[in-house]
């Protein structure tokens, strides 16, 4: 027991003396959780809660352009800045100089074009129904086009979202015009309001239902996603501290010296694993505390901890063991500290990227989704998501435990055989 105590104490002292390693293991996850959660939350709010600043230049000679601007204003989604004096040619430069990200240009023939199209639709309908209509020839105006300007730094999906919103309001205007024109051609223009109201106002709604187990009270949000994801990322970053410790001990002869002593190498390895599993648990406690108590004070969603505490502890433990085992293997195979640090850190970033820490795996191409199965971070994340987002049970965690178990055994065997090859064990 005294040997084990001395060995644990030594590992703890080495850890405390490794200031860079401690900063990477404890400050990095806090910063990552803090920064990424704020960024993602503000992006979410920008689309769903905040008004989007929109520069509008309405050159329409008719009423429909004004109606569109009115609808966009009333929607509450946009903060409209109407600048009708700006010519279309200078709109690009105006957009950039005014610091606006998006602008909408309504052309002069906007109303005329829409009315002409509505007249065509009405004519077809009247003819098909065999009804009499006004046969006075009208001037044809081609269907107008709105111009949507966006700053080049704006993400494509954001632009598409805004264009979809504008498109849906255009449908309202076009349908309204068509109904008006048809009723006017039938000489019952004053009765169009009822149909318009029915068609435009009473549309199919969509209920959003999150697919999670009934016992879960967690609401998917940036906190629920980011706190577990970046905690796992930080756990695996212990490779920089633990991996380089092992390389040092291998290179400076400490391990060989131990071989001449009446002790077993198991004590050394067990102490390392025990200390770093505790480190991982502390990382989890720290980041989760931040999610529960600090993020809500900053106006961010609160982290909701799963009800199944035992399963949560089991997922934390197996994730920690996976991180520790990977760090041991890197430490056993690296020839220098620089190799352990460089390869270890880069491999974690790659594992994180393909494992869904940086972007969700479901948006990746098929072959990348296949490769994500080889990332231990993917399975750790899956374990946390099963509990934190889906309210899953032990049964839902079986695959996670199986894959992480295989990974741990693989890393431990790799470490064992490499150290044995070097005659350290």
């Amino acid at each position: 027991m005294f040997k084990l105590y001395a060995s644990l104490r030594k590992e703890l002292l080495l850890l405390i003396n490794d200031k860079v390693g401690l900063a990477l293991m404890f400050l990095m996850p806090l910063l990552l959780v803090f920064i990424i959660t704020i960024i993602q939350d503000s992006a979410y709010k920008m689309v769903n809660e905040n008004q989007i600043p929109l520069l509008v230049v309405n050159h329409d000679n008719g009423k429909e352009g004004g109606k569109l601007v009115d609808l966009l204003t009333k929607s509450g989604l946009f903060k409209i800045d109407s600048q009708n004096a700006i010519p279309q040619e200078s709109l690009k430069s105006e957009l950039l100089s005014r610091g606006k990200m998006i602008a909408l240009y309504i052309p002069a023939t906007f109303s005329a074009g829409l009315e002409s199209n509505a007249e065509d639709v009405s004519t077809i309908l009247m003819d098909d129904l065999g009804l009499e209509r006004d046969t006075t020839a009208r001037e044809k105006v081609s269907m107008p086009k709105l111009s949507f300007y966006n700053d080049p730094v704006l993400q494509e999906n954001y632009s598409y979202s805004v264009m979809s919103v504008i498109q849906s309001y255009m449908s309202v205007i076009e349908n309204s015009l068509m109904i008006d024109r048809m009723y006017a051609n039938m000489d019952i223009a004053e009765r169009s309001a009822k149909l318009k109201d029915k068609m435009i106002s009473n549309r199919v709604g969509i209920d959003q239902i999150v697919a999670r187990n009934n016992n879960s009270t967690a609401i998917p949000n940036s906190t629920q996603h980011n706190v577990p994801a970046w905690t796992i990322f930080a756990m695996f970053f212990m490779v920089v501290s633990l991996g380089s410790n092992i390389v040092k001990e291998r290179i400076n002869g400490s391990f060989l010296r131990l071989k001449t002593m009446p002790t077993t190498f198991m004590v050394v390895m067990f102490s390392k694993m025990a200390v770093y599993v505790v480190v991982a648990a502390l990382q989890v406690a720290l980041t989760f505390s931040m999610g529960i108590w600090i993020l809500p004070k900053l106006g961010l969603p609160k982290l909701s901890v799963p009800d199944n505490v035992i399963a949560t502890i089991a997922v934390i433990f197996i994730s920690s063991m996976a991180a520790v085992s990977y760090a041991l293997m890197i430490g056993a195979f690296a020839k220098t500290e620089q190799q352990a640090n460089g390869f270890g850190a880069i491999s974690i970033i790659i594992f994180g990227a393909i494992g869904g820490i940086l972007v969700p795996t479901f948006v990746m191409p098929g072959f990348m989704q296949f490769f994500s199965n080889f990332s231990p971070l993917h399975w750790c994340l899956e374990g946390f998501y099963v509990l934190f987002l889906k309210g899953g049970s032990w049964q839902d965690l079986r695959t996670v435990f199986a894959f992480l178990g295989i990974f741990i055994v693989f890393c431990q065997l790799g470490t064992y055989f490499k150290l044995r090859f070097e005659r350290i064990i």
């Binding site: 005294f2 104490r9 002292l13 001990e249 400076n252 002869g253 001449t260």
Partner: protein
Amino acid sequence: MAGQVCIEIRDVYKRYKSAQEDSLSQVSLSIMQSDVFGLLGPNGAGKTTLISILCGIIPVSTGDVQFFYNGKPYSDRERKSRIGFVPQEYAFYQELTPRQNLDYFGAMYNLPPQKLEARREHLLEVLGLEKAADKKIGTFSGGMKRRVNLAIGIIHEPDILFLDEPTVGVDVQSRNAIIRYLQQVNQAGTTIVYTSHHMSEAEEFCKNIALIDHGKVIAAGGLQHLKSVHHAGSLQTLFINLTGEEYRD
């Protein structure tokens, strides 16, 4: 008990994997209890390989090594408790203090806490490390690091002490302190097996030597006897006479 064999090395061969030649070939030596035995030879002669075999770090390819204490053979388990090893490298934790290192390695030698504390304080004092006992070793001079390296190897008062170039790269004062302390340790009954490139130091320190070259023992016996047989005024002359003057890189 002087006069009894302590280490018996019989027909030891060692060839590393993928090596073309034997690192050790037909090495047979007897080292007596309480002796200070010098394993001397040029670079690459096989000294470190032989010490590594004696300490149990690497196995022999063929041959046999046996340890005795007062005529009784050691078991493998006993051997690990009764030998001390001071490698050429600074094989300890430079991020920790001498006191923390001694605590750790002492515990690995199964020393009970009270005895460990007493030995630790004794060694820190006699090796002049008391004032720096709670400072991180990374900031120490080469001489201080050598003394910490030595202290770790003898914390458990071994019967046999293996020293692989224990004074390399240190100043005269540290070398003097190390050798003086090793002589005291030897007088207390510890058998010392030592390698060095410092011929004057070895001449002053060793009673018996073995000269190894190209993995073979080319001369072994009492230092004075070998000098007289080979008509050499000093150990350095004896060394050059037997191993030649060409570079060994």
